[in-house]
Symmetry: C2
Subunit: 460 residues, 2 copies
């Protein structure tokens, strides 16, 4: 018993020695917070990206413009290395979209085509509506339940701090058109994956299935979904005309834009900070994901302004995230053999509201390092979430799957995120510069301490 206790104490002492940062490191950490919280850099980055480039959907010329813009921006900021790596993705273009209620009486409704949607005929697809409250209800409906009709899934997304209500809501967007087609529908429409009252439809990926006829797929703004719901409740037969003109363009090429501040002691080992450079085409992609681009870029820059790091700090601006994580997949494929060099990875892709928690996904013997880092985030309002089951962000899914990369979630308050996500209303004015800078400070401290840590963390 005594021996066991001693062993535990020694272990504890070792852990302490390994993962408590020295006085100089702590001093730089405090300077980093102050610099990040008082800088205008991140806001300036997202302001210029969303203003000078604006919308930048992969497959459009604007995306390549964004790649050039980002290369120049990282060079301008003095990253030690700046380069790009190609990523292929299925390109899709939106040309036009509109819809109106025809019966009981004509009125326009606000829709947007879901990503990959096929076109309607030139004059639209006109049919009666059949309503289902959930995807499950549609799935449970008999064969031909929607024969010749437009399926309308009316599921309302809940508001939540951590965004976990997105998962259940997004199922209908991902698979609704396939199930509707299986039930005989001529088109698919859904209440937007949205928490807003405003009259913006939310786009997002929709996926067809081989062997099942692809039908046009659109989302309605919440007030328009309400409108159709009420017309049905009032006992009217509702007929809608949907018009979507869009085109799949085969495989396109975009680029992950990468910038690195190279470490002095272990340059091959690096902290990976991720965000995605592309956006949907409707808004200017301020929250999704201009904010992320700005946060991680400014965080890396601020570290470099104060010190050289032992390990490298690498910023990866992923390509074609919205089309299905194509930049992230390309990165993991290209860097497959060296993923073990990543000592920590985090992605900022959830808007610009405050970070309230840090969570890891690491081997258990790396947890002391995690806790040592988390300690220095506390006064930024970030608590330690001990679940050690971090998701990390969409672009980190392929990294997570490798099981070797230590993944981190710097959890942001997502209460309002789905008011704007994937809409025309995702514009710069939705970003609070003070909250943005809290994010920069958290990412900067996180990256700096992970780069300096004596123990190299490992994934699980």
């Amino acid at each position: 018993m005594k021996k066991l206790l001693l062993a535990a104490l020694v272990l504890s002492a070792n852990v302490f020695a390994a993962d408590t940062f020295d006085a100089q490191t702590i001093k730089v950490t405090e300077q980093l917070k102050e610099k990040s919280l008082n800088s205008e850099l991140a806001y300036d980055i997202v302001a210029r990206l969303t203003t000078e480039v604006g919308p930048r959907m992969a497959g459009t010329p604007k995306d390549l413009e964004a790649v050039d813009w980002a290369m120049k921006e990282l060079q301008r900021l003095g990253f030690d290395k700046v380069w790009k790596e190609p990523a292929k993705f299925p390109a899709w273009l939106r040309y036009s979209e509109s819809a109106e209620i025809i019966l009981p009486s004509k009125q326009p409704i606000h829709i947007t085509a879901l990503g990959n949607s096929v076109s309607t005929p030139k004059d639209g697809t006109r049919a009666p509506i059949v309503i289902f409250e959930t995807l499950e209800e549609l799935e449970a409906a008999p064969e031909n339940a929607a024969k010749g009709k437009i399926v309308f899934i009316n599921y309302r997304m809940d508001r939540s701090l951590d965004g976990n209500s997105y998962g259940p809501a997004v199922q209908a967007r991902n698979r609704g058109a396939v199930v509707a087609s299986q039930k005989g529908a001529v088109a698919f429409m859904m209440r937007s994956v949205s928490t807003a009252k405003h009259r913006f439809a939310h786009t997002g990926g929709n996926h067809y299935k081989d062997g099942i006829k692809a039908i046009p797929a659109v989302a309605l703004a919440n007030p328009d979904a309400d409108q159709i719901e009420r017309l049905l409740q009032l006992g009217h037969k509702v007929e809608v005309n949907l018009n979507v003109q869009a085109e799949s363009k085969g495989m396109g090429t975009s680029y992950n834009v990468i910038g690195e501040f190279t470490g002095t002691e272990k340059p091959n080992e690096y902290v990976l900070l991720g965000a995605h450079l592309d956006s949907w085409d409707l808004g200017t992609g301020a929250l999704d994901d201009g904010a992320g681009v700005a946060i991680i870029t400014a965080a890396a820059k601020h570290i470099s302004e104060l010190t050289k790091t032992k390990r490298s700090v690498r910023v990866v601006l992923f390509a074609a995230e919205e089309q299905g994580l194509w930049g992230a997949k390309a990165y993991v494929k290209k860097h497959q053999d060296e993923l073990g060099n990543i000592v920590a990875a985090a992605e900022s892709d959830f808007g610009a509201d405050l970070i309230y928690a840090v969570e890891s996904r690491v081997a258990s013997n790396s947890l002391p390092t995690v806790r040592a880092i988390a300690k220095h985030l506390k006064d930024l309002g970030v608590k330690y979430d001990a679940r050690n089951n971090a998701f990390g962000g969409p672009d980190l899914i392929p990294f997570k799957d490798s099981k070797v990369v230590p993944i981190f979630s710097l959890h942001q308050d997502g209460t309002d995120y789905f008011d704007y996500h994937h809409t025309a209303d995702d514009t710069l004015d939705k970003i609070d510069p003070v909250k943005l800078n809290q994010n920069v400070a958290v990412y900067a401290v996180f990256a700096y301490l992970a780069a300096q840590s004596q123990t190299k963390m490992i994934g699980k």
Copy 2:
């Protein structure tokens, strides 16, 4: 001195006797509050009007549909008399509108044509932007200051409780295109008259002047005005292409829809409750002015459910307000000789937020009656505003000009009104049924007591 005091006391007693309502009237007043606050009628009216009819701009078939709908609705509710009176107005139709920034780099911007705007050529009007912060700044600019350019007035409307910030902001909308044309501009655009951050452009009346070339006139959503402002601040030359397709259609005809519960003692004398039935074409006109239609209709109905009134209570749903108060003007013209029969007039046309004050515009010897009525609104949260200078609402301007009609403002909280006003986002979900019912209660008590008052109020 003693004699004077006695006279004052006698006068005061007379006033007291004349303007304090009897026990039965006070009992009905209290029942009216309870009924109004707990009814679903007003919300049901605005829900069905905005859902079954939806947008109803004068000059479109939807407006005439709204007239039919309203006639049937007033009949269904059992008004003693329901009729309509024609009103002519200059009809204008919006066909399409779009805009994009061409230089420094293409991106769409969200605009809406102002009412009466002429069309651009089929492919749009493309020109560099010249920015002015205010209409006054444009007016002060030299001749040809905007030669061959698109004038952009960047004035930001303030948020205010009483909506008084609308006045200064709306000048640019009313006259901006004329002044821009005088300075050589090929088109006029302005930051929307809006307090919202959301990406909706706000339409509204624009007026040309004989002898000055009519140029296309549009409003930008606030985020898009920000975008152009930032591009200019970043030092870019900004070129925009505006495309508006619209048409003036000569004089059209719509109808004031009128319903009356007829008084038992003085049927020719009546309380006039006004709202406008028409809306702009972009939204469903829930706040502007479906709410007003619902509030006054429900108020009159609730009175009738409890009692007959001495004087009549007349609901007037004005036509073509948005085109320039054409229904109100037609009403005043037709009823010119009998305007003296109106014992009190109030219009509900400022959304559905709470009423916080009542203000009159009456001859001074009618003020005791005003105060007697105001006393019974106090527990509904309505204070007495003694300025006695009520505006009354836009459709009451022609009534006010007659100087014989006692005008009332039941002042609503307008803090959020200009977030939605004249946009596609003016939809039912913006109405809080509890606040709506407070409005109904205030209008019901106001109308009932004005109808019962022993003293007939007179205007000034």
